[in-house]
Amino acid sequence: MSAGLAGNIAHQAVIAAVPLVLAGVGELVAERAGVIDVGIEGLMLTGCITAYAVAAMTGSGVAGLAAAAGTSAALAGIFAVATIKARVDQIVAGMAINLIAFGASGTVWQVLQTRHDGLYAQLPDSAGFQPLLFGQYGLAYATAALAALAWWMLRGTRAGLIVRALGDAPEACAASGIGVVQWRIACVIAAGACAGAAGAYLSIMRVHAFEPGMTGGSGFLVLALVIFGRWSVPGLIGGCLFFGMLVSVQQHLQSAGQNSRFPYQLFQALPYVTALLALALLSRSAPGPARLGEPWPQRR
């Protein structure tokens, strides 16, 4: 394998890993705070369509990115209030959020295609982002910075201690006058913003287009990767890069073997098979936040 090819694969791996890390850091913080958000797939998809629609209409990619983060954060807010205040089961509510997001994104996409003479069915050049440095988008660097920030916050600040306590012993927070409900809602909304931005990365940066269901399970993959990384930021990044590498190799082989009759579905399934195997090998030894998924306060 030539150096150029290896570099190319690594480059593609980072491109594939960025949205996973971005959404993953948010999910990780939410889970450390005790809330599992299975709706992250839907939140990412919401980010995809919002970024695309806003960028196409305003011609501004930045506006699209901001709108994506904002909309997904709002949707995450609904999830947060339903689960944390109204105590709806987190997994179940997350699935409902996925359903809403799939339907809403499809609706908006159809409207974009059929109304306004299909004017917004194409992303204008001005609205797509161009790579900033070394062929990576600015958001990739922002993601790296965000991950570093989250790592430092969880380790070294009182805010991080609070987040960790929320997931492991919320009664410790309550006894110190820290509002468990408010903090958890804030963490979930922040995670929603991250997922929305990750969606924007997919639609207006990586692909420059939207297609229904384009997240293709990335959100679910993120859930697995957070466990895989044992709820630590470096572990998550390692896992994401590993998966990015798998995807990158798959793409490379797929394009190289275009003319042969090699079944590309095997490669497409590879990340999911690997995720499953990784969970099977690691899940046992990764206990995770003690109170993940439990409502607060506990019923007496």
Partner: protein, 363 residues
């Protein structure tokens, strides 16, 4: 972890037949109210977007129920949703978060198609149909059993394993449809059709409302009896609500959960086989997502088999009605999915707010 199933406990309290008088009707009443609120919200949203709510409602209703054929089409659409919804209800009752209905449904479908096209099953056509349907149920059960095994022995949470297995199933089907099962007479990635003799009888002309839908309805009633009146159903519920107490009461917790998963996967797989034998007759590599919708149907029906049936019919009506909306008023039919999601969320929130089991005290 002593009990892998309790990693992420479901807290959907299943309704009980023991409730008498007004309490017995409170659960469905609250659910209906919540659905009504969701529909009104959606209509308000459409009004803001410039569609007259009355027009939308009447177009939608006439699309869903306007004629005998329309009604049959709504029921036809409800059929697979009822199967996947019941599948989820069985598993959730036992506390097994089987989100894998999609994959189980797909494998059931593929088993039916394989039996109908690639294999030659000896004997009369009705026998081949029964063999193929059984194969569909077994395929779904096996896929669910795999997820159960991963949880039991490797501690992989069911939520995650079943979701990942869904994706793997999608690509497996794609592989087969592009490969060994591809119809040799076309270049398109699709299978051949199953022979006429293996197709399920149609119950209403102008639609493909088939015998499998009637079976699904009967299954809902049967499951209702099983849940409420049998030792097995009672133990399933107790295992789901409190596995520790179930074990101390001498119930075989792991076995009940295993049985629930197999039954759940089997019902989902059978649903897929029904859909192929009754409606589509062949497969391409696109999916109608009945498995995911089944989770919503089950939750909307509050895990009660009859509630699930009502929810499935409602979803079927949403599908046919919103297609009519698209045709007549140019409203995207994906809006039906938004309505589903909103309805589910509304029911969940309403249930959580109305059925607080115990008052929460701060001290």
């Amino acid at each position: 972890m002593a009990d892998p199933g309790s990693v992420l406990p479901v807290t959907v309290p299943a309704p009980s037949a023991e409730q008498r008088g007004p309490a017995r009707w409170r659960d469905p009443a609250v659910a209906l109210l919540a659905v009504a609120v969701a529909v009104v919200l959606l209509l308000i949203g459409l009004a803001i977007a410039g569609y007259a709510p009355t027009d939308v409602a009447s177009t939608w209703l006439s699309g869903a129920l306007g004629s005998g054929v329309r009604r049959a089409l709504s029921l036809q659409e409800a059929g697979p949703l009822l199967m996947t919804g019941l599948a989820v209800a069985i598993a959730f009752r036992a506390g097994a978060l089987n989100i894998g209905g999609e994959g189980q449904f797909l494998l059931g479908s593929v088993a039916m198609i394989a039996c109908g096209t690639a294999f030659r099953i000896p004997g009369p056509a009705w026998f081949a149909t029964i063999v193929a349907l059984t194969a569909g149920a077994l395929a779904g059960a096996a896929w669910a059993g795999l997820a159960w095994a991963l949880e039991r022995w490797r501690g992989v949470p069911l939520v995650l394993s079943t979701i990942l297995l869904n994706f793997i199933a999608v690509y497996a089907v794609s592989l087969l449809v592009h490969g060994v099962l591809q119809d040799p007479l076309t270049v398109a990635p699709q299978t051949a059709e199953i022979p006429e003799g293996m197709r399920l009888p149609v119950l209403a002309t102008g639609s493909k409302l088939h015998l499998g839908v009637a079976f699904a309805a009967a299954l809902a009633v049967a499951l209702w009896l099983v849940f409420e009146r049998t030792v097995f159903g009672f133990e399933l519920g107790v295992v789901g609500m409190n596995p520790s107490a179930a074990r101390l009461a001498g119930m075989p917790v792991a076995r009940r959960r295993f049985e629930a998963m197999l039954l759940s996967g089997g019902v989902a797989g059978l649903g897929g086989a029904f859909q192929q034998a009754g409606v589509t007759y062949y497969m391409s590599d696109s999916s109608a997502s009945y498995g995911y919708a089944g989770v919503a149907v089950a939750l909307l029906g509050r895990l009660h088999p009859l509630g699930v049936a009502a929810a499935a019919v409602f979803f079927g009506m949403l599908d046919t009605g919103s297609r009519n909306l698209e045709r007549v008023m140019d409203v995207p039919h994906d809006l039906g999915d938004v309505a589903k999601g909103l309805a589910v969320l509304a029911v969940l929130v309403a249930a959580a707010v109305f059925f607080r089991q115990a008052r929460v005290e701060a001290s």
